[in-house]
């Protein structure tokens, strides 16, 4: 958990949710507080579920319920920074430390979320998102200005179908599967065994993808001067590009195969051992594409 990031010494009015002596299995939550449109909300929950919506009020609203073993649900803020935190005894069995929350916040505010296993769902936010979970899945829809998402085994899914404004996306996971649809401009994603699928709506400018054993699929139109870097060990890489793509390609693999719709086949590069490489250009050679694998197969497909 990102304890170091919690600024528990924030100035402001702390509204501790008054939790009556446990009687019901779950305790309902209903809180509202002011937050400026360009403010920031930090949410930290261990488990349960989190759904966040953007709206046009300068206010944060938190509803939902928390489990019996939750000692404190700390909700507070000073008008510019707000926080929602579950405090519980981490050493105890986490049976009832669930917080199932639904939150509304100003659509241009910044959102930071840290959780262990809650699934996170975010929609209609236009600001910066920093979302971290260990096993929870992360799902974002809409066009935030930037997204940083990090999981160990949770999946990450972004649906920015209307995003032409150029969300900057950075995703890191170990075994989660990453699906980024309708992203534009800059994308960076890294996984070990997780797979990465990226499809863009607007022209992309800068893409860096890497996996070890997971596969990578990228479908995109490239802006002039775009850079694409994809690296994998044994995962296969499939690139789907429009037929009129203007790019220079630098593809190499030590043991894998290269299937190229755009032109020449790969050449054996090293007279002392295996290894194939392929360098060629299409159109004006405007964008730059670099693909490296150890044993993963590479497919360059014309759309």
């Amino acid at each position: 958990m990102r304890h170091a990031r919690l600024t528990t010494a924030l100035i402001g009015t702390a509204l501790l949710a008054a939790l009556a002596a446990p009687a019901a299995a779950d305790r309902p939550i209903e809180e509202s507080l002011e937050l400026a449109a360009d403010g920031e909300l930090q949410v930290e929950i261990l488990s349960g579920s989190l759904v966040v919506h953007g709206w046009d009020r300068a206010e944060v609203r938190v509803t939902g319920s928390v489990g019996d073993d939750v000692d404190d649900l700390d909700i507070g803020g000073d008008g510019r920074r707000a926080w929602v935190e579950v405090d519980g005894d981490h050493a105890r069995s986490r049976h009832d430390l669930d917080a199932d929350l639904e939150i509304w916040l100003p659509s241009t505010a910044r959102l930071l979320v840290d959780t262990l296993s809650a699934d996170i769902g975010v929609s209609d936010l236009a600001g910066e998102l920093e979302l971290g979970s260990v096993s929870g899945d992360i799902t974002v829809s809409g066009s935030p200005s930037s997204i940083e998402a990090e999981t160990v085994s949770g999946d990450v899914r972004l649906d920015g179908a209307d995003s032409r404004s150029g969300t900057a996306v950075a995703v890191e996971t170990v075994s989660g599967n990453v699906q980024l649809h309708g992203v534009g401009r800059t994308v960076e994603a890294s996984a070990v065994s997780g797979t990465i699928e990226v499809s863009a709506v607007a022209q992309v400018h800068d893409i860096g993808l890497e996996t070890v054993s997971g596969g990578v699929e990228l479908e995109a139109a490239l802006a002039p001067g775009a850079r694409v870097d994809i690296s994998s060990h044994s995962g296969s890489i499939v690139l789907r590009l429009p037929g009129d793509t203007s790019a220079s390609f630098d593809v190499s693999t030590f043991n894998g195969s290269v299937d190229n719709d755009f032109g020449p086949p790969a050449q054996r590069v090293d007279r002392f051992g295996p290894g194939k490489s392929l360098e060629f250009s299409t159109g004006g050679g405007d964008a730059r594409i670099s693909i490296e694998t150890f044993s993963g197969d590479v497919g360059l497909k014309r759309q």
Partner: protein, 177 residues
């Protein structure tokens, strides 16, 4: 054509034909500048040395594509800058590296300045934020134009200009607090 240029031409010709000692001559002539670029960009001796090696090996592999249209150093240098940028990208979140600075400079007080000492300048450059440092090194030290920097790094030309402005402002401030 001066003597040094024609001598170098000869070395390049022979190196292109596979003459390793000739390539060593080219290496000796240019390693300090290439290594200096790497060191100032990466801020780490070991990495700078490793990268310098990679650059020369790549230059050897690519010698066939050098047609003499520009000075050899210019061509070699381009190979170098590409490798450095590749190394920077592999380091981590390049997203942080290529966005425009949030605070465009607004000089609110006028500073009276004196010439800077060489050592201070190196330290000040090392203290620049990575993107600003890179643009400053490419523009003011290595002599690239903004459109070339934009092409090499993938940032917009405006971002390059803004970063240069920021670097120069930060350097002046660092050298004369």
């Amino acid at each position: 054509m001066d003597e040094r240029t024609s001598e170098e031409r000869l070395l390049v010709e022979r190196a292109s034909a596979g003459d390793v000692p000739a390539f060593e001559g080219l290496y000796r002539a240019h390693v300090d500048r290439i290594h200096g670029l790497c060191l100032r960009m990466l801020g780490d001796w070991q990495q700078a040395e490793d990268l310098t090696q990679e650059i020369f090996v790549k230059a050897w592999e690519r010698l066939g594509t050098y047609r003499g249209e520009s000075r050899f150093y210019t061509w070699l240098h381009r190979v170098g800058v590409n490798e450095v940028i590749g190394a920077l990208r592999r380091r981590g979140r390049w997203q942080d590296r290529f966005t425009a600075p949030g605070d465009l400079p607004e000089p609110s007080t006028v500073r009276f300045t004196e010439p800077a000492d060489g050592v201070d300048l190196e330290r000040a450059i090392g203290g620049l934020p990575p993107v600003a440092r890179m643009v400053f090194l490419l523009y003011d030290v290595e002599g690239y134009r903004h459109h070339e920097i934009a092409e090499l790094t993938g940032m917009a030309e405006g971002t390059s200009k803004a970063n240069l402005h920021r670097a120069r402002r930060l350097l002046r401030k660092a050298l004369h607090p």
